[in-house]
Amino acid sequence: MSEKELGQKWDHCLADSAIKFGTGLGLGIVFSVVFFKRRTWPIVFGTGLGLGMAYSNCQNDLRSHYVLHSKVAKEQ
C-alpha cells in the first residue's frame, strides 16, 4: 500500500535514527571513554553523527522517489 510506504519509511527512519543515535552514542561514549578521556563531546559528537546520519538517511529515504537516478550508458 502506498500509504503504508510512508509509514514504513518513517518507521525505518525512526528505527534507523534510534540505531544511529544509539550507535553514535555508543561510539561516542566509547570514543570518549577510550580516546577522549570521558569527555562529553565525543558522546555528543557521536550522537550528533548518529542523528545526522539518521536524518540524512531519513531524508534520502523519503526523497528517494523524487531523486533522478542516472545511469551511465554503456559504451557501445
Binding site: S2, E5, L6, L62
Partner: protein, 757 residues
C-alpha cells in the same frame, strides 16, 4: 438509565395498583366484596333477563296454542320454533278443508239410498241412454227389466236399498227404516237431491249399469227363490193336509162301507142269535167308528180346504209378483192344487155316495128295525105274557103261543101281502115319485157334478191354456232371442264393416299425415345437416387457423422462453457476480471474480455485448478481487490524514524539514472536513486540502468515483500516498461499472423477454 426507568415504571405501577386498594390483605376482601356486590347486581340482572325471556317464551306458546295463525306465522319466521311448538303443544291442528269435505261426501250417499225408489225408474233409462251401444243385449235386458219390475218397484227398490246399504259404508239409518218414512219426506228428499243426483246419474258408467242389473236380477232371483220356497212350502203343507184329508175321507169311506156291510149283515137274519148281540156291538162300534171317521174326515176336509185356499192365495200372490221364471212353478203349483182339489172332490163324492148308500142302508135298516119293532110290538100285543125279548124265548114257547104266533104270522103275512099289493100299486107312484126325487137329486147331483167337472175342466183348460201360453211364450222368447242374436250378429257385421271402412280411412289419413311429417322431418333434417356441415367446416377452418396461430405463438413463446431463460441465466450469473462482490470484508478484498465472470462468459457465449463486457472486466479484479466501497472509504480516511500531513511535499520540497512543516501545516490548518465540490473546478480548488475535503464529501455521499477523481488531482507526495488507494478505487469502480452494465443489460434483456402474466 433504562433500568432506572423500568424500576420507576414498576414503582409507579405498584403505586397505581396499591392506590386502588388500601392494603394487600384487604385486596382480596375488597375483591370479594366487590365481586359480591357486583355478583348480586349481576345476579339481579341475570335473573331479570331470564325472567323476561321466559315470560316472553311462555306467552308466545300460550298465544300460539290459542291462535293457530299466530303459530303458523311464528313457525314461518323463526327457524326452529316449529319443533318447540310441537314439543310444547303437540302437532299443529290439521287444515279445516278436510273436515268440511267429509260430511259432503257422506250426505250424497245417504240421500242416494233414500231416493233409491224414486230414482230406480229413471236410472235404467238414463243408463240405457248413456251406456255404450256396443252391448245390445244389455240395454235390451235393461229395457226388459224395468217393465216387469215397474209394479214391484218398491219391493225391489227396498231390497236393492237393503243391499246397497249393507254393502256401502254409509253409517246412516238402515234403508228399510228410511223407506218406511212418510212419502212426503221421502219424495221431498228425492226432490231435493235431484240436482245432487242428476250429475251422479250422468256420471254412472256402464259397469254400474251392469252392476245394477245384476243387483236387480239378484233381487228377482231372491224374490223368486222366496216365492218358490213359499210355494213349495205351502204346496207341501197343502199336499200333506190334502193327503191327510183324502186318507181321512177314505178311512171314513171304509168306515162307512164297513158300517154298511155290518149293518147289512146285521139285517140278514141268517146269523145265529148268539152272534147277533156281538154283531150289534160290532155294528155300534162300526157306527161310532164311522161317526168318528166322518168327523175326522170333516175336520181334515176343512183343513185341506183351508190349506188349499192358502195355496190358492199364495199362487195368486205369486202370479201377481209377475216373475217370468216362476211361471212354470206357478203352473205346476196350480196343477198340483187342481189335482189335489180334484182328488179331494172325488173322495168327497165317493164319501157322499157311500153316505147316501149308507143312508139307504140305514133307512132300510131303520125300516127293518121299525118293522121288527112293530112286529115285536104286535107280538107283544098278541102275546103279552111273553117277554118283549122274544129272542130268548124260543125254547120256552108253548103250543098256543106258537099257534097264535103262527096265526099272527099268517095275519101278518096277509097284511104284508095286502101291503105288498098296495105297495105294488103304489109302487109305480112311489117309483115315479122316487124317480122324480131321484131325478131331482140326480139333477142336483148332476148339476153339482157338472158344475164341479165344469170347474175342473175350466181349470184344466185354463191350466192348459197357461201351459200353452207358457210354451208359446218360451218359443217366442227363443225366437226373439234368435232374432235378437241375428240382429246382434247383423249389427256386429255392420259394425265390423263400418269399422273396417273407418280403419281404412283413418289409416290412409294417418299414412298421409305420416308421409307429410316424414317429408317435413327429412327436409328439416337435411337442412340441419347442411347447417351442421357448414358450421362444422367453419369451425374446422377457424380451429385450423387458430391451431396455426397457436403453433406460431407457441414457437415464438418457446423462443421467447429460451430468450427469457438465457436472460434469466445471465441475470442469475450477474447476480452471482454481484453476490461475490459482497464477499468483500473490511480489509480484505472479495474473492476473485474469475469464476463468476467465467460463468457469465459461459452463459452468454453467443451474446457479444455480454462477452465484451465480461472481457472488459480488469484482470486484477478477476484474479485478486476488488475491495468494497466501505473498505475504500475507511482507507480513505488514512489516506486523507497522510495526504494532509505530506501536503507540502513534492519534487521540489521533500526534505525532512518540509515534512515537519507539512505536518505542522496539517495540524494547524483548520478547515471543514467536508466541502461540497463545485460543479466546475477552478485552479485554486486544486489545493490538496480542498481536494481532500471534496473527496471526503463525495465519499461520505457514497460517490467513490468523484472522490477518486478528486484524489486523482493530488500532486506530489499526497499523490504518491494515495496511489494505491486510487488504483484500488479505480479497479473497484471499473469492475462495478462493468458489472452494473452487465446487470442493467441482464435486467433489460430480462424485462424484454419477460411476459406479463
Amino acid at each position: 438509565m433504562l433500568r432506572v426507568c423500568w424500576k420507576g415504571a414498576h414503582a409507579a405501577a405498584r403505586q397505581c395498583v396499591c392506590g386502588k386498594v388500601k392494603a394487600h390483605p384487604l385486596q382480596h376482601c375488597r375483591k370479594y366484596s366487590t365481586a359480591g356486590d357486583s355478583g348480586s347486581s349481576a345476579g339481579k340482572i341475570v335473573a331479570a333477563s331470564l325472567l323476561s325471556v321466559g315470560g316472553g317464551l311462555g306467552g308466545a306458546i300460550l298465544y300460539a296454542k290459542w291462535d293457530p295463525k299466530f303459530r303458523a306465522n311464528v313457525e314461518k319466521s323463526v327457524p326452529y320454533s316449529d319443533q318447540l311448538f310441537e314439543m310444547a303443544l303437540g302437532p299443529p291442528p290439521p287444515p279445516l278443508v278436510l273436515l268440511q269435505k267429509k260430511p259432503g261426501k257422506i250426505e250424497p250417499l245417504q240421500i242416494f239410498s233414500l231416493s233409491e225408489a224414486s230414482k230406480e225408474s229413471k236410472q235404467p233409462k238414463d243408463k240405457a241412454k248413456k251406456s255404450d251401444p256396443a252391448p245390445v243385449e244389455a240395454p235390451a235386458a235393461v229395457e226388459e227389466a224395468p217393465a216387469p219390475t215397474a209394479q214391484t218397484l218398491e219391493e225391489a227398490s227396498v231390497e236393492a236399498a237393503h243391499i246397497i246399504s249393507a254393502i256401502g259404508e254409509v253409517p246412516s239409518v238402515p234403508a228399510p227404516g228410511t223407506s218406511d218414512e212418510s212419502p212426503p219426506g221421502h219424495t221431498a228428499a228425492g226432490e231435493e237431491c235431484k240436482d245432487h243426483h242428476e250429475p251422479e246419474l250422468k256420471e254412472r258408467p256402464a259397469e254400474e249399469v251392469t252392476a245394477r242389473l245384476a243387483q236387480q236380477d239378484k233381487a228377482e232371483q231372491d224374490a223368486l227363490a222366496a216365492l218358490t220356497a213359499g210355494l213349495e212350502e205351502s204346496l207341501g203343507s197343502t199336499a200333506k193336509t190334502t193327503l191327510q184329508a183324502i186318507g181321512a175321507q177314505e178311512a171314513a169311506l171304509t168306515a162307512i162301507a164297513a158300517h154298511t156291510n155290518k149293518l147289512k149283515e146285521a139285517m140278514d137274519s141268517e146269523t145265529p142269535p148268539d152272534e147277533k148281540s156281538s154283531q150289534w156291538k160290532a155294528l155300534n162300534e162300526a157306527l161310532s167308528d164311522r161317526t168318528r171317521a166322518m168327523e175326522e174326515a170333516e175336520e181334515a176336509l176343512l183343513k185341506a180346504k183351508g190349506e188349499l185356499e192358502n195355496l190358492r192365495g199364495v199362487i195368486n200372490s205369486a202370479k201377481q209378483s209377475k216373475i217370468n221364471t216362476a211361471r212354470p212353478q206357478i203352473l205346476a203349483a196350480e196343477e198340483n192344487l187342481h189335482s189335489m182339489i180334484v182328488d179331494l172332490d172325488k173322495v168327497v163324492t165317493k164319501v157322499q155316495t157311500a153316505q147316501t148308500e149308507a143312508k139307504i142302508v140305514s133307512q132300510y135298516s131303520e125300516l127293518v128295525n121299525e118293522a121288527k119293532a112293530q112286529f115285536q110290538q104286535e107280538l107283544a100285543n098278541i102275546t103279552p105274557e111273553t117277554q118283549a125279548n122274544w129272542k130268548g124265548l124260543s125254547g120256552k114257547l108253548s103250543a098256543d103261543d106258537l099257534t097264535s104266533l103262527i096265526a099272527h104270522a099268517h095275519r101278518r103275512i096277509d097284511q104284508l101281502n095286502r101291503e105288498l099289493a098296495e105297495q105294488r100299486v103304489r109302487e109305480q107312484i112311489h117309483i115315479e115319485v122316487a124317480l122324480e126325487q131321484q131325478k131331482l137329486e140326480d139333477q142336483k147331483a148332476l148339476e153339482r157334478a157338472v158344475v164341479s167337472t165344469l170347474e175342473h175342466s175350466r181349470e184344466d183348460m185354463r191350466l192348459e191354456q197357461e201351459k200353452k201360453a207358457q210354451e208359446v211364450r218360451e218359443v217366442m222368447e227363443a225366437e226373439m232371442r234368435t232374432q235378437l242374436r241375428r240382429q246382434a250378429a247383423a249389427h256386429t257385421d255392420h259394425l265390423r264393416d263400418v269399422l273396417k271402412v273407418q280403419e281404412q280411412e283413418l289409416r290412409e289419413e294417418a299414412q298421409e299425415i305420416l308421409n307429410s311429417k316424414m317429408m317435413e322431418q327429412e327436409t328439416h333434417y337435411r337442412r340441419l345437416t347442411q347447417e351442421q356441415l357448414d358450421t362444422f367446416t367453419l369451425d374446422m377452418n377457424a380451429a385450423y387457423a387458430r391451431l396455426k396461430g397457436i403453433e406460431e405463438a407457441i414457437d415464438s413463446h418457446v423462443i421467447a422462453e429460451e430468450e427469457a431463460r438465457k436472460a434469466h441465466q445471465l441475470w442469475l450469473s450477474v447476480e452471482a457476480l454481484n453476490y461475490t462482490l459482497r464477499s468483500a470484508g473490511a480489509d480484505f478484498p472479495t474473492e476473485p471474480l474469475e469464476g463468476a465472470v467465467g460463468v457469465i462468459k459461459e452463459n452468454c457465449a453467443e451474446n457479444e455485448f455480454a462477452q465484451a463486457l465480461a472481457t472488459a472486466i480488469p484482470e486484477e479484479s478477476l484474479s485478486r478481487g476488488i475491495y468494497s466501497e466501505a473498505s475504500l472509504r475507511a482507507r480513505f480516511y488514512d489516506i486523507r490524514r497522510l495526504a494532509r500531513r505530506v501536503a507540502l511535499i513534492d519534487e521540489t520540497r521533500n526534505s525532512l524539514y518540509q515534512y515537519f512543516l507539512s505536518y505542522l501545516q496539517s495540524v494547524l490548518l483548520f478547515e471543514r472536513e467536508q466541502v461540497a465540490p463545485p460543479a466546475k473546478l477552478a485552479p485554486e480548488d486544486l489545493d490538496t486540502f480542498k481536494l481532500l475535503a471534496y473527496a471526503n464529501y463525495s465519499i461520505e455521499r457514497g460517490d467513490l468515483e468523484l472522490a477518486a477523481k478528486f484524489v486523482n488531482q493530488l500532486r506530489g507526495e499526497s499523490q504518491r500516498v494515495a496511489q494505491d488507494w486510487l488504483k484500488e478505487a479505480r479497479l473497484t469502480l471499473e469492475t462495478k461499472q462493468v458489472i452494473s452494465l452487465l446487470s442493467a443489460y441482464a435486467n433489460a434483456v430480462g424485462l424484454g423477454t419477460t411476459q406479463a402474466p
